[in-house]
C-alpha cells in the first residue's frame, strides 16, 4: 500500500512538532525515519497510524484519504518501543487479539485464529512459547511477539517506533537482520523510527532524515551518506569536518589561498563540509588545504589527526593511513575527494 503524507503540520498546544512535512512511501518499501531526539519521528509515525491527527495536511493510503478514518479503521500494524503487550494474555492470545476483536461478520473462526497465530509465532521464531505470559519473556522475544501481533491483522502498513531501542547491542543487531529478512518475505510496506544511523543505513531501502520537525533529506542509504544535502545531514550521518571558507568566482578560498576546489555557489562566505576519511593527501602547498598536526590518535584501522589550518580558526580532523609518518607539528596537505559548501550559519 502506497502511503502519502501531504503538507502535514502538527502542533501540541501551539508547540509545532512538525512543520509542513510531505513524504511518499512506495508499496513494499522499508523506510527509516532517522533523526535526533525530539525531531518529530514518533509524531510523524503516530500521524500515519491515526493515533494523532494533523493540525493541517492529509495522509493518504493509496488514493484514499486516511485522515477521515479512525485508528481502528486504518488497519495499521503499530509496534511500540516498550512492546505494549497485554500482560494478562498469553503470547498466542496477544497475537490473536486483533482477529478476535473483529466484528462477527469478518472474524475468523476460533480454530482459524489459533492456527494463524501459531503460524505467525512460528514465523517470528517463537514456536513453543505460545502459553507463556509476556512477563516470562526476554525483551527481544517480547518485541517479536509485538511484531507478530501487529502482522496478524494483515496491516496495510507496518509502523515500528524504535523497535530495538530498549534492547542491548547484540540482540539489536540480530533482530535488525531478522527484520530485514521478514520484510523481504512479507513485503509489508514498513516505516520504522530509529535514532541509530547504523540501523537506518543497514536496514532501510530509503532513509528519511529529520530535524526539528522537518524532513531534511530523503534518499537511499548511499545518497544520504555520500551526498548529504544539508549541514545537518552532514553532521548527523557519519563523521564530518568543516572549515569556514570564501567563494570567489566559483572556487573555494581560505584566506588568500585558493584550495583548487570548485563550488557552484554565489560569491561570499561559506562553510566547507567533507568526510574526514574521504581525503587524498597531496605534496606541495598549492591547490590544497595545508595544516599543521596538533594531535593524532589511532582509530581502528586508520589514524585520525587534528590539524590547525593556516587562515582558519577552527581545527579539523582528517583520517590518514595508520603507518603515515606524520607526527605532531609536521605539515600535511590534503584535498577532500567529496565535499560541499553550504552557507555559513
Amino acid at each position: 500500500m502506497d502511503v502519502r503524507v501531504s503538507g502535514v503540520r502538527k502542533e501540541f498546544d501551539r508547540f509545532p512538532a512538525l512543520h509542513d512535512v510531505s513524504l511518499e512511501i512506495k508499496s513494499g518499501e522499508l523506510i527509516a525515519l532517522l533523526g535526533p531526539s525530539g525531531s518529530g519521528k514518533t509524531t510523524l509515525l503516530r500521524l500515519i497510524a491515526g493515533l494523532e491527527s494533523p493540525t493541517e495536511g492529509k495522509v493518504f493510503f493509496g488514493d484514499e484519504d486516511a485522515s477521515l478514518k479512525s485508528v481502528q479503521e486504518r488497519n495499521v500494524g503499530f509496534v511500540f518501543q516498550h512492546y505494549a503487550l497485554f500482560r494478562h494474555m498469553t503470547v498466542i492470545d496477544n497475537v490473536g487479539f486483533g482477529l478476535k476483536v473483529r466484528p462477527s461478520n469478518t472474524r475468523p473462526a476460533k480454530d482459524e485464529i489459533r492456527r494463524r497465530s501459531s503460524e505467525l509465532l512460528d514465523f517470528v521464531q517463537l514456536s513453543g512459547l505460545e502459553k507463556r505470559y509476556p512477563a516470562q519473556l526476554s525483551g527481544g522475544q517480547r518485541q517479536r511477539v509485538a511484531l507478530a501481533r501487529a502482522m496478524a491483522i494483515e496491516p496495510r502498513v507496518l509502523l515500528l517506533d524504535e523497535p530495538f531501542g530498549a534492547l542491548d547491542a547484540k540482540v539489536r543487531k540480530e533482530l535488525r537482520r531478522w527484520l530485514r529478512e521478514i520484510h523481504d518475505k512479507t513485503k509489508h510496506t514498513t516505516v520504522f523510527v530509529t535514532h541509530d544511523q547504523d540501523e537506518a543505513l543497514e536496514l532501510a531501502d530509503r532513509v528519511v532524515v529529520m530535524s526539528q520537525g522537518s524532513i531534511e533529506q530523503v534518499g537511499t542509504p548511499d545518497e544520504v551518506y555520500d551526498k548529504p544535502n544539508s549541514p545537518f545531514v552532514y553532521g548527523f550521518i557519519g563523521e564530518s569536518s568543516r572549515l569556514p571558507v570564501r567563494i570567489e568566482n566559483g572556487t573555494v578560498w581560505i584566506g588568500e589561498k585558493s584550495l583548487g576546489l570548485k563550488a557552484d555557489r554565489p560569491d561570499g562566505d561559506g562553510m566547507l563540509y567533507f568526510r574526514p576519511h574521504d581525503v587524498e593527501l597531496v605534496d606541495g602547498s598549492n591547490g590544497c588545504i595545508a595544516g599543521t598536526v596538533v594531535a593524532s590518535r589511532r582509530v581502528g584501522a586508520t589514524r585520525r589527526v587534528e590539524l590547525m589550518v593556516a587562515g582558519a580558526e577552527e581545527r579539523i580532523e582528517i583520517g590518514i593511513d595508520a603507518d603515515h609518518p606524520a607526527t605532531e607539528l609536521s605539515g600535511i596537505a590534503f584535498r577532500p575527494r567529496h565535499f560541499r559548501v553550504f552557507a555559513r550559519d
Partner: protein
Amino acid sequence: MALGFTLAYLALIVLIPLTGLAWRSASLGWAGLWHVATDPRTLNALKISFGTAFVAALINVFFGVVVAWVLVRYRFPGRRIIDAIVDLPFALPTAVAGIALTSIYAKNGWIGRWLDPLGIKVAFTPIGITIALIFVGLPFVVRTVQPVMEEIRTEVEEAAATLGANRFQTITRVLLPGLQPAILTGFALAFARAVGEYGSVIFIAGNLPYVSEIAPLLIVIRLEEFDYAGATAIAAIMLLISFAMLFIINLIQAWSRRRYGYGT
C-alpha cells in the same frame, strides 16, 4: 533474621490476641458455641454485617475504579483536592462520619428530606449501614487500584486501538483484566474494613435487633451484659468467616499472579 523478626512481630501483634480469643470461646465448648451461633439475634447481626459489608465493597469497587481512573487519566482543575478528599475517610474519626451521615440522611436531613416522601428510609436501616460502609471503604479501593492504573501505559490502549478494538473492547478485554488483581485486593480490604467497622455505623444504624444491629455492636452488648463467652463466641465466628473469605480471595490472587507474572 528479617523473617524471624517478622514472624515474632506477627505473633505478638496478631496471633496471641487471636489465640486468646479462641481460648476464651473454647470455654463455651462446641455445644455452647453452636448455641450462640444459631441464636437468631446473632444470625441476623452476622447477616447484616456481612451482607452490608459485601454490598458496600461491591459498590466501592465500581465507583472506586471510576474515581481512580479519573484521577489517573484526567487533568482538571481541582484534581489534587479530589485526590486529597479520597483520603478523608481514613483520617476522619469514624464517629464524626457516622454523626454527619446520620444528620444528612435522617428524615429531616439534607438528603433524607427528599428521600422520605419517596418512601425511602436510609437512616436507621441496613441501607444507612451500607452508606456508612461505602464511605469508610472507598479509599481502600481507590488507593490500591490507582498505582496499578498509573503503571498502565496509554500505549497499551493505543495498541488495542490499532489492532481494531473499539473503546468498549479495550476496556473489557484489556484494561479491566489487567487491573483485576488490584481490584480484588481493593475489594478485600474494603470488605474487611466494612465488616469490622463500628464507629460510623452505630449512629446511622439505629441498632434495632434483628433489623439493623451489626455483629460488632452485638459483641459490645454482650460485653456490657458481662457475657464474655457469648461475646468472644460471636467474635470467633466473625473471625472464621472473615478468614475464610480472605483466604479465598488470596487464592484467586495467587492464581492470577502466577498467570500474569506480576512482580516479576
